[in-house]
């Protein structure tokens, strides 16, 4: 029963996402999948650890460029490329993490943004010989077809992205339930008390930082394989706040918030820019409205009601469902 309940929410959520594929155009569905994976790292950092980061594109670019370098210069197998993207994410976050997690919350946000800018110029100008600057790297034709799930075909790529998403969400759900997840929350609420309990704040923060931003790098690797192309635009400072906006929109720290946020944000961007071509107006004021209305976000507001509904239907008080 516990097992069923634990996996139940996940299966329902991803079943709904798979259903989305039937009604919506494929590129939109894939974009939502990757964007959700991109955002969950930010959501975890903001909602669980209390770190707000305006520099998520930096880690996205790390994953994307690592994968691209492999596929452009060395090999053809997209799966190996994605693994290399993840490895690069781990290496880079381990390198910058010890410096960044020492900083105070506000400085953390700003320094991350600076990191995104550094990587932007690094890819655009300094390493232009390798990255081809603004022209970017094109390797769609380099990527080999694989036997089981052929990532060069968008419909099969969607299935792969869905599976990866499922694994990521199962992992984050496990994290939320674990002692480590509780430690993260404790770091956010009161780090002194956590220290009294004998935990090392620095280690908890660093681990959370590495986990969250490696997930972001994974999203970058997925983008690279899906688009078959990467350019410095991916880490452009103008897009730096996208994940933060989506996180807030969905509800920071909730498990399914990033998915709901991505659907609403991507949908809003598409439909609004079709109608009036001015999505900033809507996104900006929605953001302000949500913050003033209690910062719980869309999923954060729905979730408690859903829980109550499920509890009434099944007759059991159940805090797990829909978490």
């Amino acid at each position: 029963m516990g097992l069923v309940r634990w996996w139940g929410g996940l299966v329902v959520a991803f079943g709904l996402l798979a259903l989305l594929r039937v009604y919506l155009p494929l590129p939109f569905a894939i974009e939502i999948m990757i964007f959700s994976i991109y955002t969950i790292g930010c959501s975890f950092l903001l909602g669980r650890v209390g770190f707000i980061s305006f520099g998520q594109p930096a880690y996205l670019a790390v994953g994307a460029y690592a994968t691209s370098f492999y596929l452009y210069y060395f090999g053809t197998n997209p799966y190996v490329g994605i693994l290399i993207g993840i490895a690069a994410g781990v290496v880079v976050t381990l390198a910058v993490g010890p410096l960044l997690v020492r900083l105070r919350g506000d400085y953390f946000a700003l320094v991350n943004l600076a990191l995104a800018v550094i990587i932007y110029y690094l890819m655009q100008k300094v390493l232009a010989d390798i990255t081809h600057g603004d022209n970017g790297l094109w390797f769609l034709t380099n990527t080999a077809s694989t036997l089981v799930l052929d990532l060069t075909r968008p419909d099969q790529f969607f299935i792969f992205a869905l599976l990866v998403g499922f694994a990521v969400w199962a992992f984050y759900k496990y994290l939320d339930d674990s002692i480590f997840g509780a430690c993260c929350l404790a770091v956010k609420v009161n780090e002194d008390k956590l220290r009294f309990l004998g935990y090392d704040n620095f280690k908890v923060r660093l681990t959370a930082f590495v986990i969250a931003n490696t997930t972001t790098a994974l999203a970058g690797a997925l983008y690279a394989v899906y688009l078959g192309f990467v350019s410095p635009e991916i880490t452009s400072p103008a897009r730096a706040a996208d994940p933060v906006v989506v996180t807030i929109l969905g509800g920071a720290g909730t498990l399914y918030g990033p998915i709901v946020g991505s659907i609403v944000y991507t949908g809003m961007k598409d439909s609004v820019s079709k109608i009036i071509g001015n999505w900033e107006l809507i996104v900006g004021f929605t953001l302000v409205f949500i913050m003033l209305a209690g910062e719980k976000g869309i999923w954060g507001s729905i979730e408690p009601r859903l829980n109550r509904l499920i509890a009434r239907v099944t007759g059991v008080r159940n805090d797990e469902v829909g978490q």
Partner: protein, 290 residues
């Protein structure tokens, strides 16, 4: 070896850039110092100031009138935002104000796009004259920008040190409860600080307009640099903001003479180095929230 002419013009270029940075970030710094909010919407007043300057100078043919308009509208927009939004979030945590003000910033950019469209607009430089300094031609307008920034710094210094309201603001950066206990209306003090910050950001936009093209995303483009300046200087310190603006201006300008591709990156590396040594910036105090 870099010629002395190149060095002189590079130095003046960096000086004028530093002046713009200073005017742009002093609002951020003041708001953090007094209200303990991170007000990213200052970049919106910067954009609005630039656009008002553009429109008025197009209509009247005089940039200086436009500049006055830009400062006024920047201040008024700040007043409106303070009344509608910031009033409700002074009590909240820092990241909260950061996200909310970012929402104001992109929403405002949307409004700007609505009124002026997406196309970048050029603003004519009001003074074409050049002067010779150390045998190098220097555009007078850049020197004027530096002079205005210096006057603003002087004005702010006099305001903060010689007037009773200024002294109250300065005391507010130390301890706002004590100021309140003295019978000073802190709420009005906050509004005033916000208006000053917005007007100065508007001034920065108006002054910067002739040097670049005016476009809706100009605020987002300088966002990273504005961040960097306040971080290097230390949030909330006006002296720190002044020093770090000129430091960053020179690093960008002289850095581009040494090796062009690195120029945009060098200040960020500088910032990381400074934070490694002192995690609160050059003049930042360790205090966070009252």
């Amino acid at each position: 070896m870099i010629s002395s002419q190149l060095l002189t013009s590079g130095f003046v270029f960096g000086l004028s850039m530093g002046s713009i940075f200073f005017l742009m970030t002093i609002g951020l710094s003041l708001c953090f110092g007094v209200m303990r909010v991170i007000s990213l919407d200052q970049l919106l007043y910067y954009t609005v100031g630039a656009y008002i300057t553009y429109s008025i100078s197009l209509a009247t043919g005089n940039l200086w009138i436009g500049l006055v308009g830009g400062v006024a509208v920047g201040g008024l927009t700040a007043l409106a935002v303070e009344r509608l939004v910031f009033r409700r979030i002074y009590e909240r945590e820092l990241p909260f104000s950061m996200i909310t003000s970012f929402g104001v910033l992109i929403g405002g950019v949307g409004v700007v796009k609505f009124f002026w469209g997406l196309v970048p607009r050029p603003v004519p430089v009001p003074i074409d004259a050049q002067v010779f300094i150390l045998g190098t031609e220097i555009p007078v307008y850049r020197l004027v920008v530096v002079a205005i920034a210096a006057l603003v710094y002087l004005g702010i210094w006099l305001f903060l040190h010689k007037t009773i309201v200024g002294k109250a603001i300065r005391a507010g950066t130390e301890n706002v409860e004590h100021v309140e206990a003295l019978g000073i209306n802190v709420s009005r003090l906050f509004t005033l600080t916000f208006i000053i910050a917005g007007a100065l950001s508007g001034l920065a936009g108006g002054l910067h307009a002739p040097l670049i093209m005016v476009d809706p995303n100009m605020g987002l483009e300088v966002l990273a640099f504005a961040f960097m300046v306040v971080i290097i200087g230390g949030l909330g310190s006006i002296k720190g903001t002044l020093i770090s603006s000129f430091l960053v201006g020179q690093v960008i300008s002289l850095g581009s003479l040494v090796y062009a591709p690195l120029a945009q990156m060098a200040p960020f590396v500088l910032m990381l180095l400074i934070l490694l040594i002192k995690p609160t910036g050059l003049f930042g105090s360790p205090m966070l929230k009252r």
